[in-house]
């Protein structure tokens, strides 16, 4: 956004071309700050999104995850008292309505174990205790996403901090941190979480998410550690060190950007662990009570309470919660498979629409397929 000639003419009559240009220059630098902000936005949000979108795996993953987030928002609003979803459904005359998945009081027999696709008041059927399966499926999404978010952020932050510091510092710091990582890695996750949850009895989804990943970060820390070991010997890192740049700054500017692929991929794996383990905890009956607040509770009801696999014609109770579990897990896997492209600088700039001068030697070694 350059200053137009009119403006320059109005403000200060120029005696010669020189001063006007000088002013113009400084004005331009003032504007470029905004431009720079836009460029950063382009580079860090739009370009990665374009690259991600170009890969079918990330596209599918983002679509599925977007669906989960949208559902979670609607259900969360409903739980908070804004019944947007039900209002909209009523507007369209839908026989089904979202309701809290607890056994209704004064339940009639025609509400018990309705088979799916028979009564549109309960599209996916009901359990023996009259809980509507579709409502229960949706009800679980907000807390599941909260757990995933908390667990993913906690384990990623923890692992990145421990992995980079131990890898870069070396010496005693490294041995101490490595020992901690080794111990954390050799304590099997689920039993530890089971014991912790049995003692703490958490109810906030955020706390559950963090508890589940209490030792998941260790595996990631080890990966990052070994990456940093090779990175710190790179010549540009050595150059920064010789220039006397402080360790935290070297880690931030030279080391961390190169670790992004590992960090995102492992965020996704941590998220997957949270999904698996939280469902396992609810399935085992350690969390929750009385209400189908998680897909694990539904599995528990179907398999242990209502014998869905031994009584014929009840398998739908068990199959229904499997659909969102597998969908969410698949979205995460696809995301982790697709994101490594995000961090390949060459793919990235090509997608941003810039022309890249690829060196010819590279072409010779890897001829385009």
């Amino acid at each position: 956004m350059k200053r137009t000639d009119d403006d320059a003419g109005d403000d200060d009559p120029r005696t010669d071309g020189g001063t006007g240009e000088m002013f113009g220059d400084s004005e331009i630098t003032a504007v470029t700050r905004r431009q720079r902000a836009r460029e950063t936005f382009d580079e860090s949000v739009i370009a990665p999104f374009k690259v991600a979108w170009a890969d079918w795996r990330t596209k599918v993953a983002l679509l599925i995850l977007g669906g989960f987030v949208a559902t979670a928002l609607l259900v969360w609003l409903h739980q908070a008292g804004y019944t947007l979803l039900n209002d909209a459904l009523r507007l369209f005359g839908s026989p089904w309505e979202l309701e809290a998945p607890r056994s209704p009081v004064g339940i009639t027999d025609e509400r018990r174990s309705v088979r799916p696709f028979e009564n549109w008041q309960y599209p996916l059927g009901t359990f023996d205790n009259g809980v509507d399966i579709l409502s229960a499926l949706l009800w679980a999404t907000p807390s599941m996403l909260q757990m995933v978010l908390a667990g993913g952020v906690f384990s990623t932050a923890m692992a990145t901090a421990v992995g980079t510091v131990s890898g870069y510092k070396g010496g005693t710091v490294e041995s101490v941190l490595n020992t901690i990582v080794d111990i954390a890695m050799s304590i099997p996750g689920l039993p530890l979480v089971v014991v912790l949850v049995a003692i703490i009895r958490p109810s906030s989804p955020y706390v559950i998410g963090v508890l589940i990943t209490i030792n998941v970060w260790a595996g990631l820390a080890r990966t990052i550690h070994s990456q940093v070991l090779s990175l710190r010997e790179q010549s540009y890192v050595e150059a920064s060190r010789t220039m006397g740049i402080s360790t935290p700054q070297i880690i931030r500017t030279d080391i961390l950007p190169n670790l992004m692929p590992y960090i995102t991929v492992n965020f996704v794996y941590a998220a997957r662990r949270v999904v698996y383990d939280s469902i396992a905890l609810y399935y085992l009956g350690l969390l929750g009570g009385g209400m189908a607040e998680n897909w694990g509770v539904m599995l528990d009801w179907a398999y242990n309470l209502y014998n869905a696999l031994t009584v014929s014609g009840k398998a739908y109770m068990l199959l229904a919660p499997m659909v969102p579990i597998v969908a969410l897990s698949m979205a995460l896997i696809l995301l982790s498979q697709g994101t490594d492209r995000l961090f390949n600088p060459r793919v990235r700039t090509r997608h941003a629409g810039e022309t890249v001068q690829e060196d010819d030697t590279d072409r010779e070694v890897n001829p385009p397929a």
Partner: protein, 338 residues
């Protein structure tokens, strides 16, 4: 320092740390959980609550009234003698219960691990050699799909499949229990065969859902190794393709999978809590479930310690074998400190 000595020391240190963690957790529990247990027992029988409480507290591993250090010392010395306390659910000593259960869990775990590594290494290598072919693409797709299925979902689906198919399969792969009824334990063909048949479905649940990622990373590693200069040199030297495939490509592509092996051992032993409940397979995980269900603290801590000890030992064995494959690990040159 000798690498083996160092590694053994580390394993022992880990064991100590785990025991301490278990103690700290157990120390924080008693009050409420003992009350809970007393309530449970008093509900079902009309015994004097105080007598029940005393008998429960006498069977805890330490005196809850004692000081922290004293409790810790009694706890550790009891553990060193192999005493894990008394389980109310099992009706016998925790150590007896678990000693009998551990081999069954290990059977399932080793079947799953061996099967998984055999399949995914072979599959990954073939996929890498035929990169871009329909075989590669189809298997990548199948791998991603199967990886997305959690192990417990696979377990339910397997039970569903076995339950709905014909009787012969149901008899071949029984979905419940760990050994055939009316067969005496011992090294007889009938018993071993029966135990293997019962272990198949739990092991398959791990295998089907775990092989995909491993095969994909084996594929990636092999493709990367195939592009290395030393493979080209080996080809130019006219070495047999069998030797190149096994010694040059295979060995180097397998090494990075080592961390996956370690993690999968811990993951499998950990998730036995859920899987053994589903299959009613009386291993360590099953007892942990029973312990949680009845809030039986000694059994819960006992299973936790035993599962962790299994993981530590398995990791130790894997580390020692790995050091034979890759001598670099023993040199342990980590570079200078900054």
């Amino acid at each position: 320092m000798n690498w083996y000595l160092k590694r053994t020391g580390q394993a022992l240190f880990t064991l100590w740390a785990v025991v301490t963690v278990a103690f700290v957790l157990a120390w924080n529990v008693p009050g409420s959980l003992v009350d809970h247990m007393v309530d449970r027992i008093v509900q079902n029988s009309n015994v004097d609550p105080e007598i029940v409480r005393e008998s429960i507290e006498s069977r805890l591993m330490f005196d809850p009234e004692a000081s922290l250090l004293e409790g810790y010392l009694t706890y550790v010395s009891a553990l060193l003698e192999g005493d894990l306390g008394y389980s109310f659910v099992a009706g016998q000593d925790v150590s007896t219960t678990l000693a009998e259960a551990v081999p069954w869990t290990l059977l399932v775990m080793s079947l799953a691990t061996l099967g998984m590594f055999a399949i995914s290494l072979a599959l990954g290598a073939i996929m890498a050699y035929r990169e871009g072919s329909w075989f590669d693409i189809a298997n990548t797709f199948v791998g991603i799909v199967t990886t997305s299925v959690p192990y417990f979902v696979a377990a339910f689906l397997l039970i569903l499949w076995v339950g709905y198919s014909d009787a012969p399969i149901l008899e071949l792969f029984p979905p419940r229990g760990r050994r055939p009824p009316r067969v005496d334990p011992g090294f007889t063909v009938a018993f071993v065969w029966g135990a293997l048949r019962h272990a198949v479905l739990p092991a398959l649940s791990y295998l089907i859902t775990g092989y995909g990622l491993l095969a994909l990373s084996m594929r990636g590693n092999s493709i990367q190794t195939l592009g290395e200069d030393y493979v080209r040199v080996a080809e130019l030297r006219g070495l047999s393709s069998r030797r190149i495939a096994l010694r040059y490509v295979g060995r180097n592509a397998v090494l990075p999978l080592y961390t996956s092996l370690l993690l999968s051992i811990g993951f499998m032993l950990g998730s036995s809590v859920v899987l053994e409940q589903i299959f009613q397979y009386h291993g360590v995980g099953y007892w942990m479930y029973e312990a949680i269900d009845a809030t039986d603290v000694p059994l819960m801590m006992g299973t936790f310690i035993v599962i962790t000890v299994c993981v530590v030992i398995a990791t130790f064995v894997a580390d020692v074998t790995y050091s034979m494959l890759d001598p670099r690990i023993k040199s342990g040159d980590q570079g200078e400190a900054y």
